[in-house]
């Protein structure tokens, strides 16, 4: 049959066309928040929604689950979820950005890039699993397994989205804190928040850290909290290793006001620049001189003021927070996004010797 003899030719012709099929298909303001805006969601512990005290323990969908609340389903999908932890996005951090991207409130990550600034330091979620100073033995970097993809750092390594086992609430620098106290609740009750910080951040499994301070940072940066590690040394830092009751973020010596003063009182670091200046003894209100906590050198960029050359008095810079994320250039501190991102390398509050001179005045140097 001639037709049979034609079959190989036909097969050859079809084979000629097959690649053509494959390649043809491409596989490839001036308007600020009001108290009622807060109380609408958080409620009040006392007073009316327009003048009362915000119940800061109520944090939207992130805590206070009861038999009558219906919050779980906001974030979690029981079936056909996009991630193993039943969240709406592929990673926990991406799930956070579902709301915390700036359109429903203040943003966190991306604030600096949106204004053209270079991010010089960041806790790089979904990108890194290396902890600077994470090696307790020698202070070097440590590679750990966080909860993000590939063991990378994730938002929920530091924050509990469910408000479970979080640190004691503290006063922060953020605009809502400042606005609340200065505008609506002056002298009534400090606005405090735990920021949903976990008592056991990262891969830390030790005794729960109930207070935000050096110990909390040291849960991951273990090689930074000890002064001496044999052949390597760190700047001394206040922690439970140095004091039975160490200073913490909500309880450090603070210079109040913006006038030159030698009076220190114990109080919160938030909403003031007075906690970043350390006078020489005996001005400190404790009989024992303490080293700084981590946050007295690492925080949002700011000008903290100046210590007199003799170290006996200081003039704190005025604390000014007027817009979310510090986009107003005269705000001090800036951005209010520590410790997520910073324009300052290693999250240093000030640059160069300006930082050192906040404690080590010229006359105090040997």
């Amino acid at each position: 049959m001639r037709l049979r003899r034609a079959i190989p030719l036909l097969v050859f012709a079809v084979m000629l066309f097959i690649p053509a099929f494959a390649f043809a298909y491409n596989e490839g303001g001036s308007v600020t928040s009001s108290l009622t805006a807060c109380t609408a969601c958080h409620g009040v512990t006392a007073g009316s929604p327009t003048t009362g005290t915000v119940d800061v323990s109520r944090t939207g969908p992130h805590a206070n689950y009861t038999t009558t609340s219906s919050k779980c389903g906001v974030c979690h999908s029981v079936h056909q979820a996009s991630s193993a932890n039943l969240l709406p996005a592929a990673t926990a951090s991406a799930a956070c950005a579902t709301c915390h991207d700036g359109t429903g409130g203040n943003g966190v990550y991306g604030v600096l890039a949106a204004r053209g600034l270079t991010v010089a330091a960041a806790h790089r979620v979904d990108k890194t699993n290396v902890v600077p100073g994470g090696d307790a033995a020698n202070g070097g970097p440590a590679t750990v397994s966080f909860s993000g993809p590939g063991g990378t750092l994730s938002c929920d390594d530091c924050h509990s989205p469910h408000g479970s086992s979080v640190v004691t609430a503290f006063t922060s620098d953020r605009l809502r804190t400042a606005s609340y106290e200065t505008t609506w609740n002056a002298g009534v009750r400090p606005f405090t928040s735990s920021a949903l910080l976990k008592q056991r951040p990262g891969v830390y499994t030790g005794t729960p850290i109930t207070e935000y301070g050096s110990n909390w940072c040291g849960a991951c940066h273990q090689g930074r909290v000890n002064h001496s590690m044999g052949s390597a040394f760190n700047h001394p830092v206040e922690s439970t290793a140095t004091a039975a009751t160490p200073y913490i973020y909500r309880n450090v010596p603070v210079l109040s006001g913006s006038a030159t003063s030698s009076v220190l009182t114990l109080g919160a670091m938030g909403r003031t620049n007075g906690g970043y200046l350390m006078l020489q003894a005996p001005a400190e209100p404790s009989s024992q001189r303490h080293p700084p906590i981590c946050q007295q050198c690492h925080g949002d960029v700011r000008y903290v003021g100046k210590v007199a050359d003799d170290g006996q008095s200081a003039r704190p810079a005025t604390f000014t927070v007027t817009t979310p994320n510090g986009t107003t250039s005269t705000d001090n501190p800036r951005f209010q996004v520590f410790p997520h991102e910073s324009t300052s390398p290693r999250f240093k509050v000030e640059s160069n010797d300006d930082l050192c001179l906040n404690c080590h005045t010229t006359m105090s140097l040997p």
């Binding site: 491409n26 944090t59 107003t328």
Partner: protein
């Protein structure tokens, strides 16, 4: 038929009968093909098939390989097709598309927020082109101004003027609205991102507006920021503004949707207050739908709206709201009464994962299905 023809036919039948009587004979009738002829015919058929396939790929699959067509109807949603991205270039997929709109010719404009661009598709989902790239219009001290007209910084809301096809984009971090031709040529930006807008605005340093959503109707452009709604003419002249922080009727908290009826009623998704507010032309509240979140932090499953975001008005006057936390589209009458709810949570075509915006054209809707990283074109049925 003539008698002769009939006879000839009968004679043929007779001959056939006779032939049968003679027993089986090798037939000398039928087609004989040489190998060359057979190859030619089949090759021709293959060429025809190939051309047909190419046509099908081009016109039905579009230029994008990231289009999924059809899908079963569920929860009142009949999916037409979904688009996951342009399918080409170094960013073939969307990154959190937060808004989508129909153009005058059926095109679909997608605000690909995370990629700082606008992607344009034809009415069947074929990728046409994209425009916009990252640019910072309001750098802080120490940063460079990298913005020129047309560059974007976290674009969110997008709408097309049905009269002339002009595309309006909410350029969120640049504190302005930008206007483009239907082909993506940048036309203008407004308001001035470096000046206070009217009685107050929300951009960096209190200048410009951190605009989340836009709408355009009858020669006016509407925009929302953190606590206000603004009305401009199409050249960007401020005509009116209303809204303020608070929980009173008409007060706003981070609205993320605005739509306007033919009659001039302005519907604003008061997102964080979990309600939709209808304003008359004079800015006075006509009605609200939804209830303020309670002190438990809202998210009551029985709440009429949970997190209303983008909104649109259909040609027959229905108001459709994308409820991001409700994972559904909510249809309301012009009087603020509930018509129906459509959709459910999920990742299949017709399901939503934090839907952030919706726009209408004829009987079709386009939904920015943000956390599924796609836009969906669909129809509402059966409710």
């Amino acid at each position: 038929m003539s008698d002769e023809e009939i006879m000839a036919g009968e004679g043929s039948e007779q001959a056939a009968v006779e032939g049968g009587a003679l027993g089986p004979q090798p037939s000398k009738r039928g087609f004989y093909l040489t190998a060359r002829q057979a190859f030619g015919i089949l090759a021709g058929a293959l060429v025809v098939l190939l051309v047909a396939l190419i046509v099908w790929l081009l016109f039905f699959m579009g230029g994008s390989s990231l289009v999924t067509r059809g899908g079963g109807t569920r929860a009142g949603i009949k999916p037409v097709f979904t688009i996951d991205g342009p399918g080409t270039g170094d960013k073939p997929r969307f990154d959190r598309p937060m808004s989508a709109a129909f153009g005058t010719d059926g095109r679909i404009y997608v605000s690909d927020t995370g990629n700082n661009r606008i992607c344009v598709f034809d009415s069947r989902g074929k990728f046409l082109f994209e425009f916009g790239s990252f640019g910072v219009a309001k750098p802080l001290p120490g940063a460079k101004n990298t913005w020129v007209l047309g560059k974007l910084n976290y674009p969110i809301g997008i709408r097309v003027d049905s009269q002339d096809g002009t595309v309006y984009v909410a350029d969120f971090h640049n504190d302005q609205v930008q206007a483009f031709t239907s082909d993506g040529k940048a036309l203008r930006a407004f308001p001035d991102a470096h000046k206070k807008v009217g009685k107050g605005s929300s951009g960096a340093d209190g200048q410009g507006i951190a605009v989340t959503a836009v709408a355009v109707r009858a020669g006016k452009v509407y925009a929302t920021d953190q606590y206000q709604t603004f009305e401009f003419d199409t050249n960007g002249k401020l005509l009116k503004q209303w809204g303020k922080p608070g929980t009173a009727p008409g007060d706003l908290d981070h609205p993320n949707g605005v739509a306007v009826s033919d009659g001039g009623t302005v519907y604003v998704s008061d997102s964080n207050h979990a309600r939709l507010i209808a304003y008359g032309k004079d800015g006075k509240v006509k009605w609200t739908y939804g209830t303020l979140p309670n002190a438990q932090g809202s998210q009551e499953s029985s709440a009429p709206l949970q997190l209303p975001r983008g909104a649109t008005v259909t040609s027959d006057g229905r108001i459709i709201v994308a409820d991001a936390f409700g994972f559904e589209l909510v249809s309301l009458s012009q009087e603020g009464k509930l018509n129906a709810r459509y959709g459910e949570r999920g990742t299949e075509p017709g399901q939503f994962n934090f839907p952030n915006d919706v726009d209408a054209s004829g009987d079709r809707l386009v939904v920015a299905d943000k956390e599924n990283g796609r836009v969906q074109v669909l129809q509402l049925v059966g409710r």
